[in-house]
Symmetry: D2
Subunit: 366 residues, 4 copies
């Protein structure tokens, strides 16, 4: 499939460059009958808006979404939902140096290698603005999951080396601090660290974690469409993500079977698990426990410190990137991670409906 | 797509259960004209065979591959290549307890949740034997990549907490020790650790690393088919993998932009990079540096220590798993990781051929 | 794949309802470096515009296309090309009867069966306006095919029982008569027939034929992606198409092998065929001769004669459809058939690039 | 997707050449819990066996199917079902002329164009034996459809110009004559015609028709995955098919709206149609009436009359094809058409389960 479409039955196709007239997404395959308004989508988009704090860019992007199709009398019709956001802050500027030099940590060189040339204005298709389409689609997927009792919550687990330990989690804090951390205390320490990064004309990476509650057991597929494999691809497809974990992740590699195996219990008549080292999957299928995911995000590559690089012709030179850039993109990535996870799970719920004949009889038997 | 098919143009469809008559794979879309023999495939399969050392199972599996189609006069014809391995060691035995109880760390419970029932003999479709098809397909992909100068090498980076530091790497060692570690010294330490695990009726996890040399720049796609996203899914689709990293991975989250960005240089007329924190990708496309991947593998769930669990009916009980099981599957997973990476890259090279009009003219212009 | 996306590497995703704010398409996977302007697309859209003659609706639809992404400095960039046309003639009207009754020959009843309800305004997603996206995408595919020397030409082969015999073809006529027939004489007869249909408050069907010149041999795939199978699906996916033929089509069923087989010849050093009963394909692959396709199109279902039907509740009633409707849609379908064929061939050219190792070496060998 | 895999959720991947060791198929995505035995599949395969009458080849092919995976204790498990038939009658022979010359009406030339060379033994991948995999998969799809009350019946509508009119249909005859015609009288006339073809060293084409009863309304998709579009591709992917019709097909092109539109009625409380010109679909979705399909099949290209052709080097020559060939393949294609239709409908039933939120709640709400 061409690279800007994602999903099998619940699909999204994103389009748009940072400095073109608009950015958008077509969500196809969304079940009919889900209540949906522009407000539902706007609430998600507002979570990724820059200008939320001093650690995100000062650009003013209003990012007003417009529903162009697929919704009738307040409900999804089952036909493609086309969503568009006009790009408003497209100041004309001099792209001279960026046009001819390859920015370290960016995709300028690799785009030229693949396509022969590139839209050099502000990152073009690799701009973080591409995630607007993902988040808009994520809002729709979340509406659908809500009706099934499935709820996702992503947050900032770490900024640089400031890592919130699970013991310090207070989920209520997430919406109270501009870094979306589940601890105000750690959020303050992270802020201090980011102040220093700004001073040093440098940037920081971090970790986003996502918990999914209410998942029924048996979602996913046992071989190539494993729930965790699909989620790994979903999250790794977000620019800047360099690592993925589910459950104990890399810690499981150093563990032993007797510790890492989660014992099964009977919890008031239902099968449940004593621990959740697995992060909610067994054999590629959900096991009924919360899904726990983590994505490692690299430091923002656009820094104003001078950097060594080459021109398109291969001549060595130095580049200094000016303009408004986030010293850390982690807080803005939180809703993108949540959206990609929501879309992936919506799709797997839909493709999994035909896993046994009993389900087919439920739908089609007269 | 149904869950046992992988890939867009270079595809494989695996089939078979551990205790059925055979296991196999259909490789479709392989370019015509690649020299291929059963020996080429057997060499790969032999690398995942059990019985290679005392840390893998004592079962004798000869795993002789048969080419059933798609090869004519020693070359691939462009039509589907069907490969089959007969299951030979299917001792009849008593599955009583496994049949009715859910083994911790296994997919018994999740399979019942999805399908309503399961083939309870030895893991059925979730058995490690499913990877035979992947490795056979990987052998074919590797033959193709060889012709393009692309070479993959996977090895054991860690067993439990015994991690080989990059400074100690000696790639020549990989084939000399039964753990496929790039250091004989660390391999000895890991062996000692595994001895202890066996004594304790326990098991160990570990980390597999894979390096891909010779990749041209520009392979992959900038949005959902990012090279790293596809590789992450590929590796996470291997049973027991709980985490994925590319390049610096989770360390990048704690780093700064000025350190993590790789400077571009001119290396004797070609554009290259000073460092390779990125692990060979930028914006989802290969950047011409080696691709560096890591997969965290959980401890083998089958341990002979008694474990707490429930029956299908939800009654709490204790299970003791008997039989021949690897105390660590990491060494056997090495060739599986390499195979999945090879197949993924073969597919992306093929889908990427049409990225610009110049390429189309090269192929179709008379 | 969700139903509004078409293609494997060269893909389009259409969206929009007749009475929503806009209609559009996202073309993804188009090779980089193809010159493209809004004018190129507008020329195609103008061919399907209503109001071209008295036999098409009197609605004035300006259908001005806007390129929202994927084109930079006049060339395609390889990233998604988003195209939008605002719906301008959305008179508010009374949908009362259409809302509650099922129009014969329309999809009202089947939509309610699938989705539970429907957007009842003017056909919603099943409106002919959905083809705007296809035609816009077809314009892009045609630009690509032009560069490779592949040229498509569709025209009206028949209106009702007025069929232009091949012996009477004059391709120059196609653009001169409003029915796009390759014969002015037959176009006059067809016009007279349509006048009568209008008088009788009735409508007519017809046949569109498409010829594709310049196809290299070997395009397509031998099993499920046969060139003719892909083209059949492409054309049958156009609303109102009820039959498909390639080459001699149904006449071949009544023929004999000695007549139907096309002899091979040597034409000035190239292999060619003496006849073209096959319509340009053998074994699902192009054979170097022109591709000849035909699509049978049913009479427009919207007629003003009273018709017997039922309400949503199943009550029998009579419906009279008012409003502006084409007595024949065949002339407007001509460019849709041509577009669907162009997109299908563009996609097969791209997916076919990796059919042999020699091609891979041409692209990737340094 | 690579060309030997078909379907989205219910998929089949066929493999094998006529003169290789075996031929087979992997069916993936089949719902768990369907009773299935080798006998179920064998019954379908026996319907396509040669040697059924003097109008099909005299080769003895026992074609015994073996189930290699995916069935446990007599029921499908939801995992891939691998089916294999060994090729038994592979007489070694001299392929000299066929190896170097292009047989008219065959894919020899087009295969060389695509792949650079070909397996020239008996048609290789383009042999009719490739349909063994399709028929085996069709048997499984039919078992599933049976449980939902959906029944398919294909038969020979015409041999050469001997066409059975609908008024003469007697479905009970189908299994009584070796041509699978729904009229013994017409079957006798067709037999006489075929006798003459054999005498003239010539071959005949024909038409296969397929009726599908019991389809619920609303199956399919309104745009590119229209039920009729999917069926058209399915049937056109069978070698030798040159035309497809649904319902009135090409006759609809010559009809008028007032005749072609099917009035809706209330049939004992259910919505039904007075006529079925549409062939059971409206707007790409099933309308609850029987689906009526026709496929035009060209005359067998292998005839023993001398034919004009060229060698691989382009030298003009004459070829006489010897060996055992069917003077007509239509009767053997009957079960292939039925199988492709069954698989297509099984897949669309599965992908359509998520079309509205109500269905999701039926499956997932606790």
């Amino acid at each position: 499939m061409a690279g800007s479409t994602y999903g099998t039955l619940f699909t999204m196709t994103t389009w748009g460059e940072s400095h073109g007239p608009a950015i958008g997404v077509v969500v196809d395959g969304c079940p009919a009958g889900i209540p949906l308004s522009e407000g539902d989508i706007q609430r998600f988009l507002d979570r990724r808006k820059p200008g939320q704090s001093k650690y995100t860019t000062a650009r003013s992007e209003s990012d007003q979404v417009e529903i162009l199709s697929g919704v009738f009398e307040g409900r999804t019709t089952g036909t493609p939902i086309s969503l568009m956001v006009r790009n408003q802050d497209q100041r004309s500027r001099d792209y001279g140096k960026i046009k001819d030099c390859y920015r370290p940590g960016h995709a300028d060189y690799t785009f030229d290698s693949k396509y022969g040339f590139r839209d050099y204005r502000g990152g073009g298709r690799t701009s973080g603005r591409e995630t607007i389409g993902r988040v808009a689609a994520g809002a729709i997927a979340s509406k659908m999951l809500d009706q099934l009792g499935i709820h996702l919550r992503a947050y900032t687990k770490a900024i640089g080396s400031i890592v919130v330990p699970e013991s310090a989690y207070d989920y209520d804090c997430i919406v109270h601090n501009s870094l979306y951390m589940p601890s105000d205390d750690y959020a303050q320490r992270a802020s201090a660290y980011l102040e220093q990064c700004i001073k040093e004309q440098d940037s920081s990476g971090g970790i986003v974690e996502c918990r999914i509650n209410g998942m029924p057991a048996g979602i996913g597929d046992p071989v190539f469409q494993k729930l965790d494999a699909c989620l790994a691809r979903a999250l790794m497809s977000i620019g800047a993500v360099k690592g993925i974990e589910i459950g104990d992740g890399f810690e499981a590699a150093a563990s032993k079977g007797s510790i890492n195996n989660d014992a099964f219990l009977n919890c008031q008549g239902n099968i449940c698990k004593k621990t959740n080292h697995s992060g909610g999957t067994l054999g590629g299928l959900s096991d009924g426990s919360p899904i726990i995911l983590r994505a490692a995000i690299k430091p923002t590559p656009s820094i104003s410190k001078p950097q060594q690089t080459v021109t398109r012709e291969g001549e060595e030179t130095t580049i200094t990137i000016t303009g408004r850039h986030d010293p850390v993109i982690v807080p803005r990535a939180v809703v993108v991670v949540e959206s990609m996870a929501a879309i992936t799970i919506a799709d797997l719920l839909m493709t999994g409906m035909s896993s046994n004949m009993e389900n087919l009889l439920k739908i089609y038997q007269k």
